[in-house]
């Protein structure tokens, strides 16, 4: 059974719908958006250092804005610390 029968397949469909152009522009848009986001992430710490000179970052947890830390989060934090410690030891 030819599954493509009756569908009118061919490169002319791609050409007519500007398929290649859509692909190029689409990928460029996705890349440029994420590239700008990536650059923004990279530069944010530098910007925040300047801001911190005038508005020092407060510890939200100490100010009582955080009611409680769940047990799962504590376990995740401990696991991450162990994992980090193991990696550092092995690299040495």
């Amino acid at each position: 059974m030819n599954i493509l029968a009756g569908l009118g397949h061919g490169w002319h469909n791609v050409h007519d719908a500007n398929g290649l152009m859509i692909t190029v522009i689409g990928m460029l848009l996705v890349f440029s958006s994420l590239l700008v986001i990536s650059l923004m992430i990279r530069w944010t710490p530098y910007f925040l250092k300047v801001v911190a000179r005038y508005f020092p970052e407060e510890d939200l947890a100490l100010n009582g804005n955080v009611k409680s830390v769940s047990e799962t989060e504590v376990v995740a934090a401990i696991s991450a610390a162990i994992c980090y410690s193991m990696q550092s030891t092995e690299q040495q």
Binding site: V30, S33, V36, S38, A52
Partner: protein
Amino acid sequence: MEFFFEFIRTTGFYLLTPGNVIMIIIGAVFISLAIIKHFEPLLLLPIGFGMIVGNIPSIASMPLSVYDAGSVMNYIYFGVTQGIFPPLIFLGIGAMTDFSTMLSNPKLVLLGAAAQVGIFLTLIGALYIGFTPQEAGSIGIIGGADGPTAIFLTAKLAPHLLGAIAIAAYSYMALVPVIQPPIMYLLTSKKERLIRMAPPRVVSKREKIIFPILAFLISGLIVPGCLSLVGMLFFGNLLKESFVTERLAQTARTALIDIVTILLGLTVGASTQAQTFLTKQSILIFVLGATSFAIATAGGILFAKFMNLFLKEKINPLVGAAGVSAVPDSARVVQIIGQKEDPHNHLLMHAMAPNVAGVIGSAIAAGFLWSLFVK
């Protein structure tokens, strides 16, 4: 007696077609996969049961199915067809996502962009086969490996393909541990799989709060079509990271996303009636979807290798496979494959960066295709 025979003619047994039986069996297989194999149970179980519900035939005068105006299922399905449910799911995803790994290593964001090549190459494939541009865009988005995004875009561009595309997208998300490893082994050497990456740096609270606002502004201004998805994703994340709306974040990542997942899964499953689902088009959609997913995985890996040509601190190319946005399954697969080569190599946190970047990338791609093909 005539009443009795008339009633018999209204029963499902009388009206059942072989197609309905096949779909009910497929629904049962989905439920089995969810329960026995634990393949995306939160999605496959509601979808599987929905498939069974949707393939119980009823007489025309009784509004029961998702396609019958006025039926209960039709009202719920409204959330799918109008693209209401996917943004709500994104809100929940945002409220449960920690972007720290991405913020600590921003170059990994680009892997999430590279993996979107699957969407656009599949679009070309679908156009070649003979699908309309709207249909081709909806099929291509399966390669984004993001169920809600696929449903959102298909509801806007090609609602008649919604059942097939949603089932394909969620099936391939569930099959991430099966589809990705062979491609990962094929495209990487043992030496590359052994690469260790530096542990992520600690990210400050302010960075975490500023990120969703700025990232939303950037993506929203470049591609306004992605506003509903990306906007809700970052809004959910801001609820989480701001620390002052913990109750809202908690609701978004638990009760809300659970309710929406149930309603979406059930009605998407119920939309797969044999008459509309068992078609040649559906088979093609499944084939193209698998291709799209494979290309996306390969795109991420190959781009990681390309980046390594210029980087001093090398990236483990396996991490590129997580650029498809099946969060967190593809990141988990990266961790498993990496640990098979080196049990002490922990790639999970690194893989989460392209993984969440992939969610943003696929939503941007969807927004672009929507703005391009909207009638």
